[in-house]
């Protein structure tokens, strides 16, 4: 019997439409796979009953001739997205037991398109992290292990649960969010496809905020086509989000033409860091070769302010976060911790002191500091100006190129605990993803090869704002050329 969890979204969609399979079958297979993969800790809330009910509804819908792209497709939802009546905590202790009375726009769009919810996925607390070691519910294990080793690796972050569930065939796709690389970097670490669309494509309504001017939702899937299908269902203008952009959503799947002849691809020279491992540089060169072979022009470009992107990000994101997280105060929802005889201020301090993990505290303090009297101009305003220069670098580059090709991350997945004591070393994980986040540009990571240790590595494609079509076209070509067929051995089912 075929293992239904191995289907791509596109295959399942076609099978469902033809009546070869049902959503109930697909969903049951995934529920079983999830049960068998508990050791990964990807799911923090499982919703099998809801999933089956949604599957049956989807089957009825398909039978009635109404089969939108995601009809009957079982997916996982990053715990950052509010799901009505289903616990949503952003993997923070401070949101203990929180059950929203509302649905995020992105998830609502997916349900409207017929998708089936399997459960809520683990992540770094409030999406702050690059290894998923910052979750109140414990770390997620990467389904991939190094060749010949039993050691566990991080799945990347913050969307660690999303990428692990997709890589381990416990979801056909997963929602994720990217503030500085949280879709692309973990996708690279797990051999999955991760797409961050242009800022403003996906509504942020109902998505727990980390850094409002950077947060953007996107899909994680196993193929580029699946990402195109899923992203199309997620996006769209939402009047409930003032930063959402009123633009027509193109048919992203139609971009998968395989034809990049005449396209010009830029290779930013500032991304060639001295410390980047040889295998990553080699893979990058390979990627350049594939695009050339497919008929693209490849040229060197310069993004002169690249090295300032991370420091800029680590001012802007914590500043916004310090304010966004002020609402977690123990008054209206979530954790409340009052010391014996304590007053309101004691309640705030104790609740927040207990409710937030170390990395969140670090960023809240950092953000509070850079916004405080006497420091605002030197840090926050300065960072906003440099951010403008970074965005301008991209605009200038896109005057002469259609897209940029870079590595997604400066390393493959690493071992637990290897970077968690050095915040800056951890932050450097996002060195290639953060610049586009600051500029609000679309970007994607496509699995392209294996590291010397046999761990997956991704290549990143970046395009101008709202040019996801070119993004998907190039990603499709890379995917085809890379022919990345390696799979993690399913040790977790043992």
């Amino acid at each position: 019997m075929t293992d239904l969890t191995k289907f791509t979204i596109a295959e399942a969609r076609d099978g469902l439409r033809k009546g070869d399979i049902t959503s109930r079958e697909l969903t049951e297979a995934h529920i079983a796979a999830i049960e068998a993969a508990d050791v990964l800790n990807a799911y923090i809330v499982k919703t099998p009953e809801k999933a089956l009910a949604m599957a049956d509804a989807a089957d009825a819908r398909v039978k009635a001739g109404d089969a939108p792209a995601m009809a009957g497709i079982p997916i996982g939802i990053k715990d950052l997205f509010a799901t009505e009546g289903v616990r949503t905590t952003a993997c923070s202790h401070i949101l203990d037991g929180f059950e929203p009375a509302y649905e995020s726009t992105v998830t609502q769009n997916l349900w409207d398109a017929g998708a089936v919810m399997l459960g809520k996925l683990n992540m770094d607390e409030f999406a702050m992290g690059s290894s998923n070691e910052n979750s109140y519910y414990g770390p997620v294990k990467n389904p991939w292990r190094a060749e010949g080793s039993n050691e566990h690796f991080v799945p990347g972050g913050s969307s660690g649960g999303s990428v692990a569930s997709v890589a381990a065939y416990t979801a056909m796709g997963a929602t994720a969010s990217d503030t500085g690389g949280s879709i692309r970097q973990p996708a690279s670490f797990t051999g999955t496809v991760g797409v961050k669309p242009t800022y403003g494509r996906c509504s942020r309504y109902g998505m727990v905020a980390f850094a409002s001017s950077l947060d953007q939702a996107g899909p994680v899937t196993r193929t580029v086509r699946d990402a195109a299908i899923m992203l199309e269902a997620m996006t769209g203008y939402d009047p409930k989000d003032s930063t959402s952009i009123n633009r027509e959503v193109p048919n992203f799947e139609a971009a998968l033409t395989g034809d990049i002849r005449g396209k010009t691809i830029g290779i930013p020279k500032e991304y060639r860091l001295d410390e980047t491992p040889e295998d990553i540089l080699k893979l990058w060169d390979q990627g350049i070769g594939w695009l050339k072979d497919a008929g693209a022009n490849v040229v060197d470009v310069s993004l002169p302010h690249t090295k300032y992107a991370l420091p800029t990000y680590y001012i802007v994101a914590p500043a916004e976060a310090s304010s966004n997280l002020a609402r977690y105060d123990g008054v209206r929802y979530g954790l409340r911790d009052v010391p014996q005889g304590g007053n309101l201020t004691d309640m705030y301090e104790t609740t927040r002191g207990h409710g937030f993990g170390d990395e969140v505290k670090r960023r809240v303090l950092m953000g509070t500091y850079v916004l405080s009297a006497g420091y605002y101009d030197a840090y926050y305003l300065k960072a906003q100006r440099v951010r403008q220069l970074i965005a301008k670098d991209f605009r200038d580059a896109f005057e002469s190129v259609d897209a940029l090709l870079t590595p997604t991350a400066p390393s493959a997945a690493f071992a637990f605990g290897s970077k968690s004591n050095d915040p800056i070393a951890m932050y450097l994980n996002d060195v290639f993803t953060v610049p586009a986040s600051l500029a609000g540009l679309p970007g994607a990571s496509v699995p392209a090869g294996l590291s010397a240790d046999g761990l997956p590595l991704g290549l990143q494609v970046l395009t101008p704002a709202f040019d996801e079509m070119t993004l998907f076209t190039i990603c499709g070509v890379l995917e085809e050329a890379a022919a990345f067929t390696a799979k993690p051995d399913a040790w977790w089912t043992a």
Binding site: T88, S242, T243, S322, S323, Y376
Partner: protein, 500 residues
Amino acid sequence: MELPPNISGYRIAGATGDFEVVIGMEVHAQVTSKSKLFSGAATEFGAEPNAQVSLVDAAMPGMLPTINRECVRQAVRTGLALGAEINRFSVFDRKNYFYADLPQGYQISQFKHPVVGEGTIVIDLGEGKHKDVGVERIHLEQDAGKSMHDQHPDLTFVDLNRSGVALMEIVSKPHLNSPDEAGAYLTKLRTILRYIGSCDGNMEQGSMRADVNVSVRREGEPLGTRCEIKNVNSIRFVRQAIEVEARRQIDVIEAGGSVDQETRLFDPVKGETRSMRSKEEAHDYRYFPDPDLLPLEFDDGFIDAARDSLPELPDDKRARLVSTLGLSDYNASVLVAEKESADYFEALLAALADRGADTSKLAQKAANWVIGDLFGALNKAGKSITETPVGVDAGAQLLMLIDEGTISGRIAKDVFEIMFETGDSPAKIVEEKGLKQVSDTGEIEAIIDQVIAENPGQLAQYRDGKTKLQGFFVGQVMKATGGKANPAMVNQLLKPKLDG
């Protein structure tokens, strides 16, 4: 900072000399709108706790603000009414602080780039004296919820119904120099807001609250350190608060101390201000542009439409009543103080004109009647002009009856009293009670003869030169006619008979 001259000359005497008071005001005025500034929840006063709260107002995770067009429009109209510059580009900032009734942990406000810039309010200081008070800015911001500390022995209750309601913060320059001026400023601002309908001005319900900045200085000295008295909710309290705060500061200075810049609270029961240290500590609001909102931008067309929607403003109306109708500045000021009063007066004039009266002649009389008789009765009855039992038509009828000589001014007062009580028309009252003025010469002459005959002593005294007694005879005649005799005719006919 260059301040305008202290024209009212108000001083407070200290032990070591006179002090001048310098006052600036920050008025929070609730914008008249159906829904909140950033959510679709209702703004009505007096709902069940937390009933008029959306998930946005309660700052649920992932909730986002969306701006209400009407609130922007009303802020722009207000700016235009104050002759202020309108900023076509403004920015919403977050003002970060923790409080139980501030769900987001920040207030969305405008800090660096407010929607309205500098303007002017002309305040009325009586006796035709006016003063220009500078307005620094107007910005839009969210109101907080309400904390109730007295409902439970060890809990504070929080109601978020007000959370997110739109406020205009109208910031004056420190151009006020006395409690009277501060009162006049608030009165005038309230009048303007009510004229244009951007705020209902209801201070009891908290639609208008003032933060009052007070400092004192000896004449010619630089500005003193100011204290901010927060959330004063009536004009009377504003005046009291200024008096006691200025006195307190003078006492501190004269005792050799210095005034600390701080936030204070006015306690009307104790008649004192006290420090609010609890709110003061560590106030570092960490303003930054709200990344959930884009800059607020509009074009000239929007401003023009807002301007076109403005009614005649009180200063313009007062000037017009004085110049075209010849009203006294006092009467005109009283009539324009409330838009409803001015509307009533103007409708009354229109009704008189409909009845063929020459309004340029009757305007002053009509004004006196509205201000004296009508306002007096309304005041006594505790009613507002919108609740008057004597409508514009009835008022016009009454004034016409006097003007045509059908009833005397004296009788008119009685008729008005009945009108006010019963709502009946004056014609009906005059008819039923037989109050028509007696203007028949023969009838009046007969009564005069009778009165003279009955008072020979007084007549003799009159003829001896005590001519003031004419008043006595007029009174007797009026009495004999039940006040209905036409007084002008009585005088006219009486004189020759007394003189013999």
